[in-house]
Subunit: 389 residues, 2 copies
């Protein structure tokens, strides 16, 4: 239970803050309120949230409020002094400052001077006296927490979201070179077409995987293990520009994303230099030049491979190893022109559903399944090709 003092409780931010408090009665308790106007609303807020102290702008207002709130155990004060009392109220742990304009400066100073953390919606205080406020906050160990959505965004990106409150991973997919091909065209796609990736310059295997969306399926499984998350909470979204490389959603609705030009040297550099970051001599992102980032749903009918990955995880055991082996065989057969593009999912489906599953996941089991699936599929499909020719 965090005890809050809210200055500017009848303004736009104050009202929305009390909505947040109302939605989380176990997390927050309002111990002090201050408002300059809308005394009727303030009186309602006092009745609902039961603060210990409340401050209004003028002595007449305080008098009026006293009459309205007769019988309630609340101290009523007013003016600059009252605002100061609410801003540094000893029982409060966090002060939300949401008064309009320069009037917020003195209460902001009072809050940080009392060593309280300050959630700052009144940007004017920092504009007027940034050096003073930040140095006093540092000296007293008071945190400045931004409420402005922009600065909250920056703060969250700097801090990172952590894993505890992670709700969902959203993997982005370029959609590959065949994103806009109608279903009936897929059977006649050549290896050259499938290898012509629109945004990424990669090896052959992964480029074909990208064309079938099997790559995204493998990435769903990869995410399951890297981030210890149920695949039900791993979604895929098509983002043709390959600028947003993936997103994570938190339980509070906040989404974090990482962006850069589609250049594999960037994630390589990050992995090699982690936990540091090194200067990067390659071209960087220019959002003005990019102009627009678009998102669309995956067409799971034209590209069924993604589903097989979810299926493999649901089956468990050695099923993902069978899926992977079947996919490697299928890609090789396709690159050798032994099957057509539309047959790739068929080979994968056959490998996944036909394999003798082992519940164990020892290296021996995994390698045995890998070998069996490869042998069986290669035989089956080469025989088919032989019969057909």
């Amino acid at each position: 239970m965090k005890r809050l003092s809210i200055l500017g409780s009848t303004g736009s931010i104050g009202v929305q803050a009390l909505e947040v408090v109302r939605a989380h009665p176990d997390a927050f308790q309002v111990v002090a309120l201050a408002a300059g106007r809308r005394l009727d609303l303030l009186a309602e807020q006092v009745r609902e949230f039961r603060p210990q102290v409340v401050s209004v702008g003028k002595p007449e207002g305080a008098q009026e409020l006293k009459e309205w709130l007769r019988g309630l155990p609340v101290k009523i004060c007013f003016g600059e002094e009252g605002l100061g009392e609410v801003a540094a109220y000893p029982d409060a742990q966090l002060i939300l400052l949401a008064v309009v304009g320069a009037a917020g400066l003195k209460p902001a100073l009072a809050a940080v001077r009392s060593g309280k953390d300050l959630a700052l919606a009144t940007k004017e205080a920092l504009v007027m006296a940034g050096a003073l406020l930040t140095s006093e906050a540092t000296a007293r160990g008071a945190k400045l927490l931004p409420v402005d959505s922009e600065h909250s965004a920056i703060f969250q990106c700097l801090e990172g979201g952590g894993r505890a409150a992670l709700k969902r991973i959203i993997l982005t997919a370029s959609g590959g070179p065949l994103r806009q091909y109608p279903k009936e065209r897929l059977a006649s796609v050549t290896p050259e077409e499938a290898l012509n990736h629109p945004t990424w310059n990669m090896g052959k295997k992964i480029t074909i995987d990208s064309a079938t969306l099997m790559n995204k399926g493998l990435e769903v499984i990869e995410a399951r293990w890297l981030f210890d998350i149920d695949v039900k909470r791993v979604d895929v979204i098509v983002h043709p520009q390959s600028i947003v490389h993936s997103l994570i959603e938190y339980v509070d609705g906040s989404v974090l994303a990482q962006l850069s030009p589609p250049d594999m040297r960037l994630p390589i550099l990050y992995a090699l230099s982690y936990p540091d970051r090194l200067e990067h001599p390659f071209p960087t992102l220019d959002l003005l030049q990019v102009g627009s980032l678009t998102f669309e749903a995956v067409d799971r009918e034209r590209f069924p491979c993604l589903e097989y990955a979810y299926e493999a995880v649901a089956v468990g055991g050695t099923a993902p190893a069978a899926l992977n082996a079947a996919n490697e065989v299928a890609v090789e057969l396709f690159l050798n022109r032994e099957i057509n593009f539309a047959q790739i999912p068929q080979v994968i489906e056959a490998g996944l559903r036909g394999h003798r599953s082992r519940s164990g996941e020892s290296l021996q089991d995994i390698l045995a399944v890998d070998r069996e699936v490869r042998e069986e599929l290669s035989q089956t499909y080469r025989d088919k090709v032989r019969q057909a020719s």
Copy 2:
């Protein structure tokens, strides 16, 4: 200096990893390489990067390489055993696994079993044996670092970027209700038009600030203090959908962003619950519904207020307080229909450039400037209005 072992050095990822190493000779040293194909390229890599050990696929290849590299102090091995040696090379601190497909599983296991951190480009290893690899890594204290751009993105969002390598802050601006108004229309904009914000539902003062872009100027100054960053490294970009709330760019070219629907309750909830995150009962972001996120440059000619903020910071001392006071006066005059919309920047300019600057930043100085600017501007502009009528 981090000592690297790279498996799959002649593939797409391997070649790009060596580009990264080449760009950072003081940060990385290659101590081991392995490749299955393209022996000529491998020989070149050995000559350039001078690893202590190198492995190829087949004994014939090893023999050939030995002849090419005669005289160089490099141990040459081959096959599964050679790959295992490079994967767990004792002198290496980080193993980059970038071989294609299932062939990566055994080296991945060898790397984590030797307790080495593993930068993983071969997703197939995790797909086949995720449980085994992750449990062995945990048992030996080996980190798994994703190289796939998607998983790198997720990893970076979870970790956050920190402040040390921060290069630039990019504040997004909706552009306000007048974003598409031609310059000659601005003088006749009514308070009602300026208060009609396209994406955010906010108080009057901030909504007018948003229409003039002064709000973004104040936010630039706010960012300067909250994140202790030179305003030269704080940029502004117009993003009309107000979904991406701001972005940060790191020295390595990676950009992190935070997204959510434009609902102030989200940053309020985050500020109140920080460092925890609480479940959020309000509507969350649906990128499929949003469809497109667009970005455009700020028109600094039509909206000069943003520049005044940079100017105020450059002047320093009490100039930002003068800027703020002038803006508060201007907004009030506009809302009271005493000046027109196009005069708002004029009032701000007059307040900023006309004020008697104080180099000190004591509360007393700041409050004195605030008072002086207000008195002077109110007088000047009310006199003007009186003369005109």
